[in-house]
Symmetry: C2
Subunit: 85 residues, 2 copies
Amino acid sequence: MEFQAKINVTLKDSVLDPQGKAVTHALHALHYESVSDVRIGKYMEVRLEAESAVKATELVHGMCEELLTNPVIEKYSFELVEVVS
Amino acid sequence: MEFQAKINVTLKDSVLDPQGKAVTHALHALHYESVSDVRIGKYMEVRLEAESAVKATELVHGMCEELLTNPVIEKYSFELVEVVS
């Protein structure tokens, strides 16, 4: 079975996000004054083969912890979908 | 009303993604051989004030087109949630 994982990685809430602050200021300068906060993270789409959804979930957790995220300062969440055709 | 937009930005399918290719190879080297493809993008969480969900949606489309994405090579999608407390 083929799956696609849509992974969102963000800095933990306790970690300062200077890039997000810069984007907030840029939006204010473009007259989007109603924006109060921006946080910037990464988005990854991973396609993989696995025997079952449970196995695929395990694999994605493994990848996130070993390579795709830095668990000291980042947190992640993902959505797994089965690719039907 | 306060809203949060969760915005995912990815390269268009027709645009090469060398960073994704590098991550695919790194995952293979870590014995995740079942991964066939990785695409890397950006994830942004934007908090904003607006009178209604319709108005907030308009604002987020505006920001994405004016600043947050490059419409020539990137596409975006977002989910809007109302922040209740």
